[in-house]
């Protein structure tokens, strides 16, 4: 590891101020102040059509406990947990393939995984609509198959299959989860890949050398040794999925609303900013909580593992006991 310079404010006050003031001021004014503003609004009351007065009421949070919204919270949680789990199941083998691939292929394979992430989210969602729809590609293929099978059966003298019923894949739960996984997968693969890449391969070989098979090595060596990567993958997938707005909006049906849908509605048709702010802040609280959870986990884990690694490779002085 290269040392980084550790200058103090006194050493170069000019450079310090120039590099500190503009970005930090920007963050304060255009990120934290607005967030703080809606935090205040979340304790506010609507007065008239556009006027809002901050009266430090908890009514907005209490309103959020309405069964209608609680149902949506639980649905959001369910969608998100399911999406995260699916991403982990798909993401781990993919990350394994990339991380242990030949050095020449690695950057290329990684690029293949992240490239969709570079294309517009809206367009990707739209592309899914065209695939999953009643008149979409998958149903088109199924219809063709159905037709051929029907013809074959009738030719053989069996009763036909009847008319083709399109499989509903859009504007329902399936469509939403499919879309969420589609969007979130790279978020899962990248941290897993990074953790596997950092992993000293000789640990896996040691496990094999001691007689363990591939599955055992995976469960008892790879998983515990990449635990921080797995946790950060889970969280980095979980947070944005929890706040998804476009996917349920475009791929979901009338009963697929998520938290973000409620928030957006309060700033649109429903026009109830204090309530919208309160729900947005619920999301922010959850985000903070998850980030803190990850930080604590990572700090504890990394400090334990890193020490071990450093000592193993460092020079050792004096005779051992």
């Amino acid at each position: 590891m290269l040392e980084t310079p550790q200058e103090t404010f006194q050493a170069r006050p000019g450079l310090f101020l120039v590099s500190a003031v503009p970005p930090l001021l920007w963050l304060a004014l255009l990120f934290f102040l607005p967030l703080f503003l809606i935090w205040g609004y979340s304790f506010g009351e609507k007065r008239g059509l556009i006027d809002i007065e901050v009266v430090w009421t908890l009514q907005n949070y209490a309103d959020a406990l309405d069964p209608v919204y609680v149902k949506i919270f639980f649905r959001t949680l369910f969608y998100t947990a399911l999406t995260t789990a699916i991403c982990l199941i798909i993401g781990f083998p993919v990350a394994l393939v990339v991380a242990f691939a030949d050095e020449r292929w690695k950057p290329f394979l990684l690029l293949l995984i992240v490239l969709p992430f570079w294309t517009n989210l809206l367009i990707r969602t739209f592309a899914l609509m065209r695939i999953l729809g009643r008149k979409g590609t998958i149903n088109g293929i199924l219809e063709k198959l159905h037709g051929s099978l029907d013809a074959a059966l009738q030719f053989l003298g069996f009763a036909g299959l009847g008319t083709f019923q399109a499989v509903p894949m859009l504007f329902n739960h399936f469509g939403v989860v499919f879309g969420l996984v589609y969007v979130a997968l790279p978020f899962m693969v990248l941290p897993l890949y990074a953790a596997l890449e950092r992993l000293d391969k000789s640990h896996l070989e040691a496990s094999l050398d001691l007689g363990a098979g591939q599955i055992r090595t995976f469960l008892f060596v790879i998983v515990p040794m990449t635990a921080t990567g797995i946790v950060s993958g889970l969280i980095i997938t979980f947070i944005p999925t929890l706040g998804s707005f476009l996917t349920p909006d475009l791929l979901g049906g009338p009963d697929s609303a998520m938290i973000a849908t409620i928030i957006a509605r309060q700033f649109g048709d429903a026009n109830h900013w204090p309530f919208g702010s309160a729900i947005a802040w619920l999301l922010v609280y959850v985000t903070f909580f998850l980030l803190a959870l990850q930080a604590v986990f990572t700090a504890r884990r990394e400090s334990r593992l890193r020490q071990a690694g450093e000592r193993a490779t460092g020079q050792e002085h004096g005779a051992a006991a």
Binding site: P93, L109, T137
Partner: protein
Amino acid sequence: MVFSRRPRQLREPFAYASKLGFRLFFLATLVFLYAPIILLMVFSFNDSKRNIVWRGFTTKYYVKAWENTGLVEAFINSLLIAVVSTIVSIVLGTLLALLLWRFRFRGKTLIEALSALPIVMPEICVGIALLVFFNRIGWPNDLPWPMNLSKIILAHITFTFPFVMLVLRARLVGFNPELEQAARDLGASQRQALFHILIPYLRPGLVAGGLLALTLSLDDFVITFFTAGPDSVTFPIKIYSLLRRGISPDINAASTVLILLTLLLAGVGVWWQTRMQKTTLYTANRPAVQ
């Protein structure tokens, strides 16, 4: 000795990429990720409204999209917003990265955590927060073009420059501070050392970060949705409103144009990155320490 059968060929135990099962799984994942996008692009040339049968090649939907003045205007708006916010993002991101890399000060860990927050904060929260903020300070809504895009630009800079900062910090980890000391030793002033040594070293990071900011800005829907006024429409917003009215093939065509544009940007980024890595000037800076 009679050999009953040839011994099975042993394989590298962890070369997952060469195991059939893993290969098929990886391939299936790629199909999952790419099939929708590729089909979208292919069928933008299809002479039919449906995404399943090929009815012959046509560019009529491109013409149709081009004739849709709203769409073209939105596209121009998007490009303008992306370019302006990228430039400002690079400046702010570089400053922040330098601050966090170079200086030791109280509360640094807190600042580090806070400055990465815009990256993880759910977009919907940032979007409505900015909506409320601009509303509260009474930012005028009826400015002439291009000033009517100012709110969107400010919003985009806010969520893109932390990304630039992250990319640059990753790059700075590999910088050998002795290089700057060597320049000073050879008589360069502090400012000269900064501009002759550190900034050139950062260039690949600046390009990568800039491209990232550009695509993030071009892609953004949610935050833009809440900060855009009625007359400041960006490309994703326009597509969204078209989609709300129903799927039509000219959306395919317009989307294809944007996909190709981002692919081009990604391609330039990758090409630049590999070219930079091949330049000895930049790799020689990293001593072989591990």
